[in-house]
């Protein structure tokens, strides 16, 4: 059983871990936070409810024991709490975290391998690999010499904040490092689940359709960056890269787009340089946090000395 949250049964497996999860969300946890927004009203409720104006206000004793209790919470509140913890963990340590998302076969793992090869001599890197089954991808990443942890989601179609929190504990990424998460190959479900990353990076390959961003807008809306991959194949395909970019920007006007080929290496320099800027920003954020803490300690010591 997991000593952090008590989760213990189900299908999702974190590679090498002794505990097992029920697809990441089914299990109960010992570290739930009480929410503060609950205030309930008692009402007699007849056969009809006016949900626009709230439930009927008259309470009729003896008529019905039913009552309405307001919850007013985001369905993803729990996932978002785990994600916020992960993000805080990253920020306090100056770690830059990316969540790579795409449909199956867009070239996420190859792209990761190439990215790691270009960066591993400059920065520490650790990788989380999400797939329903097998540890093939983690093995491909480990062959580059960086630590990788496979999470098998079983029947689950996406990683969630809780799984990544466990991955963080196991991988223990070093300060000011790069943390890469390869989500389950799925252009729909991972869009809704914040893992605590700084950016979602959507990968679209030129062997797919130019209209994919319009067909699956949630993902391209959730992403900050799009990599148009396999561009070395453009001469052999009837794929309009400009149209694909225009479609992606219709869904997300703020999207940063890089055209790359993981196979030939074309375009990877700009992508790698974007990652380096992100790492630099995280280092800056960390030193701001550390400076603020140091200033606080100095102030407390000054107060203590004055007593």
């Amino acid at each position: 059983m997991c000593t952090v949250c008590g989760c213990g049964e189900g299908e999702a497996r974190i590679e090498g871990a002794v505990h097992v999860h029920a697809d990441g969300t089914v299990h109960s946890h010992s570290h739930e936070h009480a929410h503060e927004h609950d205030h309930h009203h008692e009402h007699g409720v007849g056969s009809d409810l006016d949900f626009g104006a709230g439930p009927a206000r008259a309470h009729v004793p003896g008529m019905s024991q039913s009552r309405m209790v307001q919850i007013e919470q985001d369905i993803l509140a729990k996932n978002n709490r785990y994600a916020a913890e992960n993000r805080q963990h990253f920020d306090e340590r100056g770690i830059f975290a990316l969540n790579l998302v795409s449909g199956p076969g867009a070239g996420k793992t190859t792209l990761l391998v190439k990215t790691i090869e270009l960066l591993k001599d400059k920065v520490a890197i650790s990788v989380v690999e999400g797939d329903q089954q097998t540890s093939n991808d983690a093995e491909r990443i480990r062959a580059t010499g960086v630590p990788a942890l496979q999470i098998n989601t079983g029947k689950g179609c996406h990683l969630d904040g809780h799984m990544v929190g466990h991955a963080l504990e196991r991988l223990q990424p070093s300060d000011e490092s790069l943390f890469l998460i390869e989500n389950v190959g799925n252009l729909v479900c991972p869009a809704a689940f914040d893992l605590g990353e700084h950016h979602k990076v959507a990968i679209l390959s030129v062997t797919e359709g130019e209209d994919k961003p319009l067909k699956y807008p949630d993902m391209f809306r959730a992403a900050d960056v799009m990599l148009l991959n396999k561009c070395d194949l453009l001469p052999y395909l009837e794929f309009d890269a400009d149209l694909a970019e225009a479609n992606a920007r219709r869904v997300n006007p703020e999207l940063t787009i890089f055209r790359v080929s993981a196979t030939s290496g074309d375009g990877l320099a700009a992508w790698v340089s974007w990652i380096e800027s992100g790492l630099e920003a995280q280092r800056g954020k960390r030193s701001t946090i550390v400076d603020a803490l140091k200033a606080r300690i100095a102030e407390l010591e000054r107060q203590l000395a004055a007593k």
């Binding site: 697809d23 990441g24 969300t25 089914v26 739930e32 609950d38 309930h40 409720v45 409810l49 949900f51 439930p55 019905s64 024991q65 039913s66 009552r67 309405m68 209790v69 307001q70 919850i71 007013e72 919470q73 985001d74 369905i75 993803l76 509140a77 729990k78 996932n79 689950g156 179609c157 996406h158 969630d160 729909v188 479900c189 869009a191 809704a192 689940f193 319009l214 807008p217 949630d218 809306r221 920007r249 219709r250 869904v251 006007p253």
Partner: protein, 113 residues
Amino acid sequence: MHEMSLAEGILQLVEETARREQAQRVKTVVLEIGQLSSVEASALEFCFAAVAAGGVARAARLVIVDVPGAGECLACGLAVPMESLFGICPGCGSHRLRPTAGTEMRVREIEIE
């Protein structure tokens, strides 16, 4: 099929509340689902029935309140209704629209006894 995870998220909120309120059963669960959120209502209903089986909310009726999508044009600032995550500004013809409402997925309230 992330609706399964969402259904579990809903059930968790519902069951926590029902337990705290010492409810015998949950009769109704009222959700607010935005038109621009990534939820398919019928799939969510199906999944909720599956995950709620055997628990305090097993017979609960799911009421989904649709929240219409709305956005603003980043080019001209016009407020525009949005039925999907992308569209064209009726004022200036720009595609640069940003949603401002209709992306929520919330549990509003439950009816218990």
